[in-house]
């Protein structure tokens, strides 16, 4: 009756979240995990600084009306950067609307990441080029796509894995459950990374789940569940890297819960003061993931004023690029409305003609 060969206890998360660097930036021991190599740590730091700067720039752009909406991930950089840096060359990323920093870290050009959010095309990048699914709004739905894709890769004999981000709130959706289960039953190479930022818009975690931790869900599917300090980029990297390599090695999926916090409101359109207290935010401000990694790097001699400055410069450059590229209004060609509905657009010809007749009239009006 027991479907797994493992001792069930091994599927449970550890007593405390895995942590490799404490809040003051001091390395700590975590059984089974090692502090990533210096190069990785430096890269994590650099990506987080770039990510934070990108995020702040995007938020600023909403104020100027240049983005339709922006869900900030300020405070969640360690999760997004740490997990993405752990991806191998053949691995895929399946992001949500909140994972802009993850996508930027993954190599998708910032302006392509923001295409959706500025009200442009639904997906600003070619998923195959970057091995990244479209930013997904219907919650938890793309977890199933990730499972299907990862299973497909395995059927082809390729050792690619898929990393899919899910919010704490999204774990409540039926699709999350079905994705966890299909992956486990098929042994699909998927890592489900739950960014538990404590809130789903205005709903706090304790109205979302009574689980001891969200990582405790994993055992119900017969896969390992891990929880990790989601503001410790080194730990996120180490745990995700191992989960991904297990997946690639054919040992099946796992669930990683990163404990973090959404510092901003749900999106720029949301007003978080309606439902949460400032002191909670203040508390988490002290746990800033960038400060923590920077402290470690400084302490270990991996970062000095000059190299920190260089990263900051790079970040400013990135922000300036984003400003420049988003500074003008995006122009979409209305003809394209009909271009990608079906492989053969013929059945929409009549409607396209109707629109085409209107357009010159409008042009003249301008």
């Amino acid at each position: 009756m027991t479907a797994t060969e493992l001792n069930p206890q091994q599927l449970l998360p550890g007593e405390a979240p895995v942590r490799l660097v404490d809040e003051s930036g001091t390395p700590v021991q975590a059984e089974g995990f090692e502090l990533p190599a210096s190069g990785v740590l430096r890269e994590l730091h650099r990506s987080m600084v770039l990510g934070r700067r990108f995020d702040r720039q995007a938020t600023a752009l909403t104020k100027q009306g240049r983005l339709a909406v922006y869900p900030s991930s300020a405070g969640q950089e360690a999760c997004q950067v740490g997990a993405v840096q752990a991806l191998g060359a053949g691995d895929w990323l399946f992001p949500t609307y909140r994972d802009s920093v993850a996508l930027v870290t993954h190599g998708v050009p910032p302006v392509e990441v923001l295409e959706l959010l500025r009200g442009g095309w639904h997906c600003g990048y070619d998923p195959y080029r970057y091995r990244a699914g479209p930013q997904c709004t219907p919650l938890a739905t793309n977890a199933l796509h990730a499972v299907g894709l990862a299973h497909a890769a395995r059927l082809r004999g390729e050792d690619a894995a898929a990393l899919v981000f899910v919010g704490d709130g999204a774990t409540s959706e039926g699709d999350a459950h079905e994705a966890f289960n299909f992956a486990a039953v098929w042994g699909a190479p998927v890592v489900f990374f739950v960014q538990n930022n404590q809130w789903a818009i205005s709903v706090p975690l304790d109205k979302q789940s009574k689980a001891p931790t969200l990582a405790h869900k994993a055992i119900g599917y017969g896969m390992p569940g891990h929880h990790v300090d989601g503001n410790d980029a080194a730990a996120v990297y180490a745990v995700t890297a191992r989960a991904l390599s297990e997946a690639r090695a054919g040992n099946g999926p796992s669930l990683v819960e990163g404990l973090t916090y959404r510092m901003d409101a749900h999106t720029n359109a949301d007003d978080a003061t309606r439902y949460r207290l400032g002191d909670e935010v203040d508390l988490w401000r002290e746990r800033d993931p960038l400060d923590r990694l920077a402290a470690l790097l400084r302490e270990s001699g991996l970062l000095d004023d000059a190299s920190a400055h260089a990263v900051d410069e790079e970040a400013e450059g990135l922000a300036a690029d984003v400003r420049a590229q988003l500074g003008t209004d995006v122009h979409l060609n209305p003809d394209e409305l009909f271009a990608h509905v079906h492989a053969e657009p013929t059945r929409l010809r009549e409607q396209a003609d109707l629109l085409a007749e209107e357009l010159p009239a409008e042009q003249e009006e301008i």
């Binding site: 339709a68 959706l116 709004t137 789903a200 205005s202 709903v203 439902y275 409607q351």
Partner: protein, 328 residues
Amino acid sequence: MGQVTMAQALNTALRDSLRADPNVLVFGEDVGALGGVFRITEGLAAEFGEQRCFDSPLAEAGIVGTAVGMAMYGFRPVVEMQFDAFAYPAFEQITSHAAKLRNRTRGAVELPMVIRIPYGGGIGGVEHHSDSSEAYYTHTPGLTVVSPATPADAYSMLQEAITAADPVVFLEPKRRYWTKAEVELPAATEPMHRAVIRRAGTDVTLLAYGPMVATAMEAAEAARTEEGRDVEVVDLRSLSPLDEDTVCASVRKTGRAVIVHEAPVFGGYGAEVAATINRRCFHYLEAPVARVGGFDIPYPSPKLEEHHLPHTGRILDAIAELQWEEDR
């Protein structure tokens, strides 16, 4: 009360219903402390407490399915789907359960519940935030499907939906949430199932509902000033059942009809209206019933939605093509 937005009218209808009947419950995603992403439930949790207005876990089948259970037990749950496309995960619960339970139990189980869905586009929302899915619900026997177009109707129809014995899919035209009108609340308008003539006319009948009623009214005005046509505008209000008598009386009088909605035309609700008019008014029709709707494409990017959604120009074009005597 003076100037009232549709959002305020809906909020007041919920408040008054919660006050009037202890069996009324309001729940869904973010409807508690936040008051809903559109603030339709603002202040209700504070006034009526967490037992009567509360946040649920984030799962739409869960919301509708538990509402079914509560309604079985005598409550009148009013649930909110956050956006139209996010109601799809609840499709099974709506179609196979909410719609059918009275029938399945030969009337023993009654489900007085309301599923509120902010629907349609025009607010610059990114993908999956602007669908119009009325045709899925109107084709499902057992559901009542209504959509208000004005603040007064929003108040009156929501109240009536809450007191109805059967499940009601209550489609709220989100782009009209902030439209104001001079209304005294509580407002009592025509019964929910009745269509209403919003503007009398003799040349052509413009049929619309929800978000497109205001657009139809603008088009009617433009048709008068620009083309000298006298357009009658019918606000359907109830999509299922359809008030065929009011619709047919108007079309028999004018001899011409245009139905307008945001949803894609193919297989859309307008097809039912056109087919019904053709069946019941065939010998009165001077021209085929025209349908003006969204294109048969997934809802596009905000930057292009103006090209997708029906607008005055497109309605005027449809009217112009109705085979007028002078063109013959």
